[in-house]
Amino acid sequence: MAALDNPIIQDIANFTADNTSLTIRETIFAGELKRGVDGVFVVAAPSEPPDKETGILYQSVDFWARNADTAKAFEHLTEIFNLFDRRHHYTARGYFIHFSHHDSMIEDMDKDAEGAKLLKLSTRFILNSTTAIS
């Protein structure tokens, strides 16, 4: 799995918390998979290399929703779906996001050890660091 302290993932998780009903480190977690906790877990997914001429980054992100209440898991990922669906030209803390789009619909990923529902949404971000020096 990609590094847990990936700064893009941290900033995307914070941006999501700022714009949805989710709360950072309470119901949305960046890079960590907590057991027995209902919420959304933001995980870096394998991504394409950056563009060597423009420095544009391509970051795929998986949002995993774990919830004992299946409807709530869908609700959380639907909020995230609507937030990032074909959204363009916005800033998430240290990154300027040119465009974001979903690579999948909300997918059923079975249940966890405690019988809670697991759902996944894959999203691709096309972005630049706002602190990069050229």
């Binding site: 057991r35 394998p46 998986d62 995993w64 999948s104 990923m109 966890d112 050890a113 697991l118």
Partner: protein
């Protein structure tokens, strides 16, 4: 009046791009199997959970494994849910619902979706 058609052989570049796409698809599948297994692994203090790894062991070859240093025997024991000889069956898991075959079960969830992983990556191949 004449016409010229030039055929450029990009087979080598196409082969490289295809292999890179296949690597990414396998990496995505491995990643998802790993994350799922993290939600399913028996949990007692988190040692077994924390020992989980997703590794690229070679060309188009990935491995998700649990247990390191002296813990291999414990990891395979927990995965089987019993000793090799069928004794010492694990019945009382610390976390309710935690079960044996946490890794195999995770693979079985992802395997039927393999077509969509490969389709997604091959769609982005450009030469």
């Amino acid at each position: 009046m004449g016409a010229t058609v030039t055929v450029e052989n990009k087979l080598a570049a196409f082969t490289r791009a295809n292999e890179a796409a296949m690597e990414r698809a396998l990496e995505r599948m491995g990643n998802d199997i790993f994350v799922l297994s993290q939600f399913k692994v028996p949990y007692k203090g988190g040692e077994l959970k924390n020992s989980g790894e997703h590794l690229r062991v070679g060309r188009l070859h990935r491995r998700i494994q649990y247990g390191e240093s002296g813990a291999e025997a414990y990891a395979s024991y927990q995965h089987r849910g019993m000793r090799k000889d069928g004794t010492h069956v694990v019945r009382n898991y610390t976390t309710s619902g935690t079960n044996k075959k946490f890794l195999e079960d995770s693979g079985k969830v992802i395997a039927p979706k393999s077509g969509s992983y490969f389709k997604r990556e091959f769609e982005s191949v450009r030469v």
